[in-house]
């Protein structure tokens, strides 16, 4: 089945472009800071907020402290992507376990676990994260924790629904007759069949997480200076929009490209897994 899926994925032009763009950005974010003569935190007071000099020393210009914008943005990409991937990983691990166990166990366990999800769903998520970050400092790990701790709810619901319908399938009954039970069943038969939908979900969650972290940075609660994520770079740039537009446009362009690429990738994955589904 997966070879068919790969074939369908490769056939979609937009998905190929999205994957290529993402790969390029990841590669650049790893290589450019290594290759560039500039680092991300040394100020250069001679060249403050300089616009891009495409043929010159600073390809994309400098920021208000004279630091090379290209290197800053590349570091920003690294951090935003890392936050996106790690937080999503967390939420997938928690969500899949929760949903699969609830769906497979059924009965009161299921009801109870899903009730917890329902209650947590009603918690105003953004205000809570804001409160958390304000109160407990702005460490990177706290951001991971806060985002991951709340975004597992969606995947838990989806996985539970899928598990419920998978439970009825014949191969589960066959496995049960062969003596497979409980955790073993979940691990060996249920979860592998969920991978498709989980992959789609994960690919669509990463941009949401990145956007959310960007929002936090914009509100002043994200990563701390001198570290910068794309979100904080955009926030800084937005305040200086009229005089030095490149400070907003460059990080915003990269942020938007990453989000777009993940969205199209997720879409393509969804279409590849279910060609008859919604376009």
């Amino acid at each position: 089945m997966s070879s068919q899926v790969l074939a369908r994925l490769r056939a979609q032009r937009l998905t190929r472009i999205a994957a290529a763009v993402l790969a390029a950005i990841v590669l650049a974010s790893l290589l450019v800071p290594w290759l560039s003569p500039y680092d991300s935190y040394t100020p250069d007071f001679a060249l403050l907020s300089h616009p891009p000099m495409l043929a010159g020393a600073h390809v994309l210009g400098t920021d208000p402290l004279g630091r090379d914008l290209l290197v800053r943005v590349m570091w920003g990409c690294r951090i935003s992507l890392a936050i996106g991937v790690v937080a999503t990983l967390m939420s997938v691990l928690i969500g899949v376990s929760w949903g699969a166990i609830a769906g497979y166990a059924g009965g009161t366990t299921d009801q109870l676990m899903m009730r917890v999800v329902d209650v947590l769903y009603s918690v105003p998520f953004v205000p809570f994260v804001i409160v958390l970050t304000v109160l407990f400092g702005r460490g990177l790990w706290l951001i991971f924790l806060a985002i991951g701790a709340v975004s597992w709810l969606d995947i838990a619901r989806i996985v539970r629904g899928q598990t419920l319908s998978l439970k009825q399938r014949e191969f589960i009954e066959a496995a049960r007759i062969a003596g497979v039970h409980g955790i073993g069943m979940i691990r060996r038969h249920i979860v592998p069949n969920l991978l498709g939908i989980v992959a789609v979900y994960a690919t669509l969650t990463i941009p949401a997480v990145i956007l959310f972290e960007a929002l936090l940075s914009f509100l002043g609660m994200g990563v701390q200076s001198p570290m910068a994520s794309l979100g904080s770079l955009v926030a800084d740039g937005a305040s200086d929009m009229q005089s030095h537009p490149h400070l907003l446009i460059v990080p915003a362009a990269f942020l938007t490209a990453i989000i777009y690429a993940f969205n199209y990738l997720g879409d393509g994955l969804r279409k590849a897994l279910d060609p008859r589904g919604q376009p």
């Binding site: 009730r115 329902d118 209650v119 769903y121 009603s122 918690v123 105003p124 998520f125 953004v126 205000p127 809570f128 804001i130 409160v131 958390l132 304000v134 109160l135 407990f136 941009p207 956007l211 960007a214 929002l215 914009f218 509100l219 002043g220 979100g231 955009v234 926030a235 937005a238 929009m241 009229q242 907003l248 915003a252 942020l255 938007t256 989000i259 777009y260 969205n263 199209y264 919604q278 376009p279």
Partner: protein
């Protein structure tokens, strides 16, 4: 039906309790207190203030006291803005939020729904591609990038609309913030409605309707629309929650005197009651809106029985 409502409201109580408790615990667990900024205070005055706000009492007592007040709808006094109660602050800011938020939601639903359905009707055509590209922009570009961009275009360059501030009852001051807030949701709704409409139009019962010789507009409005709307109704709950929180960003950018703006400064200044009050308010609104969305869904789909 009444039994269902009662049951939902009953579940709402422990949820709100949880929110309140969590918020309370977090706020008091964090370092710092509400009056730290006022460094130079005579011990006597400090004691008097603490007594007034019951801050010297053991935590559990403060908690119960707060719950009791909450049951009466009293959100307590604000620590930041002495002499003003949280209820007053909320009453002042809520109309602004309501105006912006509800307008944004209405815009998103109408524009997104209209674009999505028409894109589905002209599937594969130029409008379809253009509409979906536009929707992708709304979804992918962050609100805090779009909003300043909109200000740049419409306020600074074209001078069509004011760049910010708030004049109650003035539609021109409402338009830009509501538009900025609506765009991401409009994009998502457009894609949602397009997919849903296409799926419905390919259903067997639509073919039956066509075989009966019914005119196309009748089929669209009376046979296709209701089923197509069901995913949208399911999305209403999360959309509303999103608009609520998105208004925080919009308020900072446009300088609107709404609740969201208060929230951040309140958290920074450890204004416990204001933070709690706003959190409880948000939680209640979200619960109510989810309930409304579920009721709408049951109203639209006769197969759903409110259990």
């Amino acid at each position: 039906m009444t039994r269902y409502l009662l049951r939902r409201l009953l579940v709402a109580v422990p949820t709100l309790l949880l929110i309140t408790t969590l918020g309370f615990a977090l706020l008091h667990a964090a370092p710092g207190g509400p009056f730290d900024a006022d460094k130079r205070m005579l011990p006597a005055i400090q004691q008097a203030i603490e007594a007034r706000y019951h801050l010297h009492e053991p935590l559990w007592r403060q908690y119960l006291r707060y719950l009791g007040q909450l049951a009466h709808g009293d959100l307590g006094p604000s620590f930041q803005y002495r002499g003003t109660s949280v209820n007053q602050i909320i009453a002042q800011g809520l109309p602004v939020d309501a105006a912006v938020g509800l307008s944004a939601l209405a815009l998103a639903l109408l524009a997104g729904g209209g674009i999505g359905v028409t894109a589905a009707l002209r599937e594969g055509g130029a409008w379809d591609h253009a509409a979906m590209a536009l929707a992708a922009v709304g979804i992918s570009v962050p609100l805090f990038v779009l909003a300043p961009l909109l200000v740049l275009i419409f306020a600074v360059t074209l001078h069509w609309l004011p760049a910010g501030d708030w004049v109650a009852g003035s539609p021109s001051h409402l338009l830009l913030p509501a538009l900025a807030l609506a765009l991401p949701y409009a994009g998502y709704i457009a894609r949602l409605m397009r997919g849903s409409t296409l799926e419905v139009l390919n259903s067997p019962f639509i073919r039956t309707a066509q075989a009966k010789g019914l005119p196309s507009h009748h089929i669209l409005w009376h046979h296709a629309l209701r089923p197509a709307l069901t995913p949208l109704v399911s999305y209403l709950g999360p959309a509303f929650a999103g608009v609520l929180t998105g208004s925080i960003v919009v308020e900072s950018i446009f300088g609107l005197p709404g609740i969201g703006r208060f929230f951040i400064t309140a958290a920074l200044n450890r204004d416990y009651t204001l933070v709690m009050g706003i959190t409880v308010l948000y939680g209640t609104l979200i619960i109510l809106c989810n309930l409304l969305a579920d009721l709408c869904y049951a109203w639209i789909d006769p197969r759903v029985r409110l259990a």
